[in-house]
């Protein structure tokens, strides 16, 4: 019984949240990795792109709520998602046309593009603050839980409860659909294959008649969709706060690099590696240990390896370890 309680506590506080967070990081990292593979630079404005798409989703959700449109138990934000994607797509295409295109034409070094993307990041950040401010906002509506802790305790008779939120399940489901669509697109469609070809060997792709501007445009569209989906899922799960998305950049980049930059499969694996490490290392195991230990005994401390304040340090540490021992990442991306 105590063992089961320990397991439930662990599932409740580590496995479930880490799976949801992992899925969010994975989709975010997919966007970063696609940009890296095809446009060949690390896009620091990716966090802001996510925030921008999510902001539009949030605003449209507000409108729908006013009009009384809803999806019943599911969050209204799902309905607003296409609008967010369209807005994010318009934004990145606009930045590409006004900013990145120039640097592509003069064949700027990747390092220069990284700096440029930081500039874009600050611009986008300013725009976000102007439109929506810096407040914390919740926009998840509909049914909050699929399984409530109290109900779970009643069903099972365990003293430990398991709560699964709608947004967590939704995150996983939407992530699965998104990834399936993306892989089908990259591997089975002609357009997707041109993107892969361009990522494999730019010179040869050009000489095979692939139009680089088209590939770049489609990449941005796909990236805008991924960024908005990732941002919205994160915002639904936690809350929407523009500044948080800038901080998310670290775990997202860590995921992409750990998995191997330029490798979509790697980005997904990396997302889960980072999420599980971060949450496991910062979780206070006191409860779990108490259940597992002898009756009536409980540890003095929290049994927490790292305080939650250090959660970003985890990404950083994993990043460094991977770069030291396997610079191309787990799935053999381009070395950085």
């Amino acid at each position: 019984m105590d063992f089961l309680n320990a397991l439930v506590a662990f599932t409740n506080f580590v496995i479930v949240p880490a799976s949801a967070y992992g899925a969010q990081l994975a989709i975010g990292a997919l966007g970063v990795t696609l940009i890296y593979g095809i446009l060949r630079f690390s896009n620091f404005a990716h966090g802001e792109t996510m925030a921008f798409g999510t902001m539009v989703v949030l605003l449209v959700t507000g409108l729908f709520q006013q009009w009384g449109i809803s999806l019943g138990p599911l969050p209204t934000a799902l309905l607003a998602l296409p609008f967010g994607i369209a807005a994010a797509a318009a934004l990145v295409l606009f930045t590409d046309k006004t900013v990145y295109k120039f640097y592509r034409r003069v064949k700027a070094a990747p390092v220069m593009l990284v700096i440029v993307s930081m500039g874009v990041m600050f611009m986008m950040n300013g725009i976000l603050r102007m439109i929506i401010g810096t407040d914390d906002r919740r926009f998840a509506d509909g049914e909050r839980f699929i399984i409530r802790a109290r109900d779970f305790k009643e069903w099972t008779g365990l003293s430990e409860g398991l709560a699964i939120r709608t947004t967590q399940v939704l995150t996983i489901v939407v992530a699965l659909i998104t990834v399936a669509l993306l892989f089908w697109f990259l591997n089975k469609t002609r357009t997707g294959k041109s993107m892969r070809a361009y990522s494999d060997n730019e010179d040869l792709a050009l000489l095979s008649g692939i139009n680089p501007e088209r590939v770049v445009m489609i990449t941005w569209l796909v990236v805008a969709a991924l960024a908005t989906v990732a941002g919205t899922l994160y915002g639904l799960d936690k809350s929407f706060k523009p500044f948080v998305y800038m901080q998310l950049l670290l775990p997202i980049f860590a995921s992409a690099i750990v998995g191997g930059l330029g490798s979509p499969l790697g980005a997904i694996a990396g997302g889960f590696v980072i999420a599980f490490s971060e949450i496991t290392l910062t979780y206070a195991f006191k409860k779990v240990v108490t259940y597992l230990g002898p009756d009536g005994w409980s540890p003095d401390g929290l049994v927490q390896l790292l305080s939650t304040d250090y959660k970003f340090a985890v990404s950083f540490a994993i990043l460094i370890i991977v770069l030291l021992f396997k610079p191309t990442g787990l799935f053999k991306g381009k070395s950085v």
Binding site: R190, T191, K193, L206, L207, S208, N211
Partner: protein
């Protein structure tokens, strides 16, 4: 068919191509030879749009194509292979060939979702075509291997195969024969000849193997130090004092340098 007029390609202060002028007549297999570092590959890169020349002009059928982007040249029917074989390493050899014919139906996002039947037909035709080319090059056994994992010579054959996937007009071959075994070299030679006669491809090929050149090429252009030194039939070139001396000369010079150091 191709006319190059006073072309210059400078890398910093270094003149890789230094005032080269030449014409490639329609329907010929023109050879391009010259010592290492003569600027042959650089010249190809300028014509094929990989590099933008420092100055000078390139014409294709009378139309100026200087500095045009490679994908636009591709659509005009100008193709090239790379001296150091390039490939889409994460795709199979067959997929590598199937990537070539651009402007297909499946290329627009709309059709990706709504024109599935036509795309499927197109894919099937392409696949058959790719298999035919692979068989022709006697490398059908590597069809399903990742192109990044096959041997250097096989990559070279794949390069040649790429030019056979579409109806090209003008094909630039940069040492297709290098690193390919003898028997296969003759097969490649035959392939080039057949493409030339049956499909009317015009070729310009860089090659170091004089036997191979002699078999296939007429005329032959000799490049040295970035410009054209002589033009003529293979026999004329081989008995041209100046050419012999240029080759010998560089050889002797190198030897002198070696012994001096």
């Amino acid at each position: 068919m191709i006319e190059v007029r006073d072309l210059h390609m400078h890398f910093g202060g270094f003149r890789a191509v230094d005032g080269a002028s030449l014409t490639i007549e329609k329907g010929t297999i023109t050879g391009l030879i010259g010592p290492n570092g003569a600027g042959k590959t650089s010249l190809f890169n300028c014509i094929a749009g990989v590099l933008t020349p420092t100055s000078g002009h390139v014409f294709f059928d009378g139309e100026e194509i200087t500095g045009m982007k490679p994908h636009n040249l591709f659509h005009k029917g100008i193709l090239r292979t790379f001296q150091i074989a390039h490939e889409f390493h994460s795709m199979t050899c067959r997929e590598n060939l199937m990537m070539v014919p651009a402007g297909q139906h499946g290329e627009t996002l709309w059709n990706t979702w709504f024109g599935r039947k036509r795309i499927a037909d197109e894919e099937r035709a392409l696949r058959a075509k790719a298999d035919e080319v692979l068989e022709f090059l006697t490398i059908e056994h590597i069809s399903d291997l990742k192109a990044g994992e096959v041997s250097g010579g096989q990559k070279k054959l794949l390069e040649l195969g790429r030019t056979m996937m579409v109806d090209a007009k003008m094909v630039f071959l940069d040492e297709v024969g290098a690193g390919v075994n003898r028997t296969l070299l003759y097969t490649i030679g035959d392939a080039i000849k057949r493409l030339n006669v049956e499909r009317g491809y015009t070729f310009c090929m860089i090659e170091h193997d004089m036997d191979f050149i002699k078999q296939l090429c007429d005329p032959v252009i000799v490049m040295a130090q970035g410009s054209v030194m002589a033009t003529g039939t293979a026999d004329e070139i081989m008995s041209n004092e100046q050419v012999i001396e240029a080759y010998l000369g560089t050889g002797v010079k190198n030897k002198k340098k070696e012994s001096a150091s």
